[in-house]
């Protein structure tokens, strides 16, 4: 008899994927600007480290909340005992207000429909447990966050069927792609229960267009299924077009509580990206469906948010001066940082998808591939990790259907480290490929190896005819 469960025995947790392997290599040899200047620079971690100073100065001026106090009195015991899975009311109110503020107050959220969970990881898994049975499926547009394979499939037994998005239209979701995915699922005898999208997108770094959102709503309405919108990056939309939440589109289309689709649209949120607090494990489920809220609330028992953290963040997020300033500064700094990355990449002859959100760029390195294959992508990735000493995420780990794309994060490291990374990249490209800076004009060149490596001649695949409209969005 197998001693452990199937869950424990097989690697459906997905942590053997390159996404995680890159992290492991980084752990072994992490860059340090003094102690290890040749180490691997971490650009595979979508973290937001740009605005801690704002939070730190708030904390210094408002020590009460962290010190288990309220109105001068110690509430340690009350907090230590508070395990109500409905959550601290003051915190939930502060959360929904913050979520509304991020959306320019175009929509409001009801705190009674918010369920707190230990991070978005737990929120996403909980949603799947509530909406699907083992053996059923959800459709997800590719490329998508690698963690979904674990969060949505591992312990739930639910399948992910990809909605293939391609570079030809900037990876936007199309009606055809949706239908094809649905039919693919049917062919495999998988009952589709919903569509899960990430908006703003990870790894693309773009916000969904209104058209895409309308399309999704029509699709789920037509098929009678759910739509989960993971809006974890909603506060990182730093330039136009502005972020449009699925909740806003529901309102646009006059889908209120009397319409069937109203109850089937759900949102996942978290403070890990917008506020840069992944350690605090603050996630949330938002649903208009009372039954989903009720079931998710009970399930949240398996991963509640620490009352200590709820109390601190409730004080923080209730400070409207802080939230207003934070949201604005966050946008400003992210925008600047992204600009630096894009220009650094351009100097290395590399372009990327025109992004307006997120903590990363979706970078086009197809021209650096030996061949238009995932093997070639892996080869390139390994070179970048082991030789250039940059940890970036290969598109295949995000289930991208086209080889050659990489996600490169820009908000988790100091600017000078980012500059260094770009210099390394430029040197690498220059040495191996001899490609001049991207300046908007079509170019071609021969590629060659050096340094006693294989003498295979690398031929440029710089055919710009079928390239995506980089500045199309």
């Amino acid at each position: 008899m197998r001693m452990l469960s199937r869950n424990a025995t097989f690697n459906s947790h997905g942590q053997d994927s390159s996404y995680f392997l890159g992290w492991q290599e980084y752990e072994k040899n992490p860059y340090h600007e003094v102690h290890n200047t040749n180490g691997i620079i971490q650009m595979g971690l979508a973290e937001n480290q740009l605005c801690f100073d704002l939070l730190e100065s708030w904390l210094a001026k408002n020590p009460e909340a962290a010190a288990f106090k309220k109105n001068g009195e110690s509430i340690f015991a009350e907090l230590a005992l508070f395990q109500d899975y409905h959550g601290l009311p003051a915190f939930k109110k502060a959360m929904v207000d913050f979520m509304a503020e991020i959306r320019g107050n175009k929509v409001t959220f009801d705190p009674n429909h918010l369920v707190l969970t230990a991070g978005a990881t737990s929120a996403n898994e909980t949603f799947i447990f509530c909406l699907a049975d083992p053996g059923e499926a959800v459709l997800i547009p590719t490329p998508y966050y690698p963690g979904f394979d674990r969060d949505l499939k591992w312990r739930t037994g639910v399948e992910i069927v990809p909605i293939h998005c391609t570079n030809s239209n900037g990876f936007q979701i199309t009606e055809t792609a949706l239908e094809e995915a649905y039919q693919e699922a049917e062919k495999c005898n998988l009952r589709v229960k919903g569509v899960l999208v990430t908006n703003p997108s990870n790894p693309l770094g773009t916000t969904m267009t209104r058209n895409e959102l309308y399309l999704l709503l029509s699709f789920v309405e037509d098929k009678g299924i759910h739509l989960i919108s993971d809006e974890i990056y909603s506060g990182t939309a730093f330039s136009s077009p502005s972020f449009i939440s699925v909740m806003e589109v529901l309102k646009d289309r006059n889908c209120d509580e009397n319409s069937e689709v109203w109850q089937r649209v759900h949102v996942v949120y978290s403070l890990s990206k917008d506020l840069g607090l992944p350690g605090f494990r603050v996630g949330a489920i938002y649903s208009n469906d009372d039954m989903v809220v009720a079931a998710a609330t009970k399930m949240s028992s398996f991963g509640l948010v620490s009352s200590q953290t709820q109390h601190l963040l409730s004080a923080m997020l209730s400070d409207k001066k802080l939230t207003k300033n934070y949201i604005a500064e966050n946008h400003k700094r992210l925008k600047q940082r992204q600009k630096n990355l894009v220009s650094g990449l351009q100097k290395a002859g590399i372009s990327c998808l025109n992004g307006n959100a997120g903590l990363f760029c979706w970078v086009d390195m197809r021209h650096l591939l030996r061949s238009n294959t995932f093997e070639a992508e892996m080869e390139l990735w390994k070179k970048i990790v082991y030789e250039v000493h940059l940890n970036i995420s290969p598109g295949s780990s995000c289930h991208c259907t086209e080889p050659g794309w990489f996600r490169v994060c820009f908000a988790n490291l100091p600017e000078r480290t980012l500059d260094l990374a770009m210099q390394r990249l430029k040197a690498f490209v220059g040495e191996y490929y001899n490609v001049p800076e991207v300046n908007g004009r079509s170019q071609s060149s021969h590629l060659s190896h050096s340094r006693g490596q294989s003498l295979t001649k690398w031929v440029s695949r710089l055919s710009f005819d079928d390239r995506c409209p980089i500045h199309g969005r």
């Binding site: 730190e56 230590a80 230990a118």
Partner: protein, 487 residues
């Protein structure tokens, strides 16, 4: 509209629409009564006193004082704010090393330093609730089973079975031998499972026991280890009440037993722990999976992503539990105060002819009210329970909610209130027992009976007990928390 509702239901999972969470239970009555009429020493002295919640409020003064004197442990204060960023960013599921070290240190000290724990085997979870679910996900597949001696904590049905598809099979224990777990009972339960073609993956014990408040003796522990080794099944030991043992016989952890027993296959041994009971921190969600099986440690650690402990809390706990002076003082004081509370309680009850199972740990007593039952049936137990809730105004937990095979037992918690409230609770019990020298009969036209709450409890067999909805979780609404009122 009926059609729409069932349409909507079909769109949700069976898990979401079913009752596996165990909260649609008639035992909700006790909570409802408390919620609608909660006791307050000045504002509502005639309200219902909450004695159904196994919480430890005995030593907050010590902790509060420590927190005040150690502001940097709260990181976000001026003293510790420079650590804020590193803590807030840290999401490694291994957990902060200082946190794991401190917890391992604490666990060892709670066991009188008779054993040490390896910090690298400490895996976080969302409370013990999350720990139990994780263990079940690691050890068993849907349809597999765990043996659990009765009476047991009602939350196990949900924690081990709801989302995992694992079932619990009761191991019969009764008062004839003080509810001890016998080899014969284990074998019988195991065989029953075999006959029903159910694969048993493990045995789950809670030591010290909830709801009994007793500890397992060395011989019993050894026989359990022998049993699981023979059957090649896992042993999961929930030691969540380890530090609540206040008198002899002392607590013996499974960790000690396997040190002595070189034959035991350590890959079968797992401990669930938490700070919710020993320290009184259920709100902080500090659950621990400690396994001697490397594969389980690895798998549980990956699963811990679904319920990591907030690093803000990890940091606080790391500071607190590394302070050996505080730890030793806390362990000693906690035991002393629990002992005093327990003694006062049991002595007062004994004086009115009410006995409790002899116990030396936990946050509750296992009270014997069998003589007050009109007949030895669970229906009679429910009648008695309703009387206690609505007339005596005490929310206690009926034994049937713990799958107890004998009617008439009640778990009564004593560590979640101050001395004054306890005295009031005791006087109510004294008056009640004195009043009801005769067994309690159901009253005609009892306004507390509502037809939708009536249960048919004709001679319940073990299977009925196994299938009956269990009592709701401790995470269910407690709207009387001042933190809720305050908003």
């Amino acid at each position: 509209m009926g059609f729409t509702l069932s349409n909507q239901q079909q769109l949700l999972s069976k898990m979401a629409t079913g009752n596996g969470h165990g909260e649609n239970s008639p035992y909700f009555d006790g909570w409802k009564a408390y919620d609608s009429d909660p006791f307050h020493v000045t504002k509502n002295p005639n309200g219902v006193i909450q004695m159904g919640l196994a919480e430890n409020e005995m030593c907050f003064d010590l902790i509060q004082e420590w927190v005040l004197n150690n502001p940097e442990a709260s990181i976000c204060t001026a003293a510790g704010v420079n650590e804020f960023k590193d803590i807030a960013i840290f999401q490694d599921y291994h957990g902060l090393p200082e946190f794991r070290n401190a917890v391992a240190n604490f666990m060892g000290r709670v066991r009188g330093n008779r054993v040490t724990f390896d910090a690298d085997r400490i895996v976080m979870s969302g409370g013990a609730t999350g720990a139990h679910e994780t263990i079940a996900f690691c050890l068993a597949d849907p349809g597999d089973a765990f043996l659990v001696p009765v009476p047991y904590y009602p939350g196990f049905d949900r924690d081990l079975g709801w989302r995992t598809g694992v079932q619990l099979i009761p191991v019969a224990c009764d008062s004839s031998n003080n509810f001890k777990v016998t080899r014969a009972a284990l074998e019988a339960a195991y065989e029953k499972a075999q006959k029903a073609n159910i694969r048993v993956k493990g045995l789950l014990i809670t030591n010290p026991s909830n709801p009994l408040g007793t500890v397992l003796d060395r011989d019993t522990l050894r026989s359990l280890v022998t049993f699981i080794n023979e059957k090649k099944i896992h042993l999961v030991c929930d030691e969540i009440y380890a530090a609540t043992v206040f008198s002899q016989p002392s607590f013996i952890s499974i960790a000690e037993i396997i040190e002595e027993d070189i034959e035991c296959n350590r890959n079968l041994i797992h401990i669930v722990y938490s700070l919710s009971k020993d320290m009184g921190f259920p709100g902080f969600r500090v659950g621990i999976v400690y396994s001697y099986n490397d594969d389980v440690v690895n798998c549980a650690r990956k699963m811990s992503s679904f319920g990591l402990v907030s690093t803000q809390t990890q940091h606080l706990i790391a500071s607190m539990l590394s302070d050996n002076e505080l730890v030793e003082r806390f362990i000693a004081q906690s035991a002393k105060r629990l002992k005093a509370r327990h003694m006062r309680f049991t002595m007062e009850l004994a004086q009115v002819g009410t006995s409790c199972l002899k116990s030396n740990g936990g946050l509750f007593v296992w009270m014997d009210l069998r003589r007050l039952l009109k007949e030895q049936t669970f229906e009679a137990e429910m009648v008695l329970w309703h009387t206690i809730i609505h007339e005596v105004k005490l929310n206690v937990s009926p034994g049937s909610s713990f799958h107890c095979p004998e009617p008439g037992w009640f778990r009564v918690c004593f560590a979640n209130m101050d001395d004054k409230t306890m005295e009031i609770a005791l006087s109510r019990i004294r008056n009640f027992v004195a009043q009801y020298k005769e067994p309690i009969a159901p009253r005609k036209n009892n306004r507390y009976w509502q037809s939708n709450l009536r249960l048919s409890f004709q001679s319940r067999r073990m299977d009925d007990i196994m299938m009956s909805p269990c009592m709701m979780s401790p995470h269910s609404p407690i709207p009387q928390s001042p933190l809720v009122r305050a908003t």
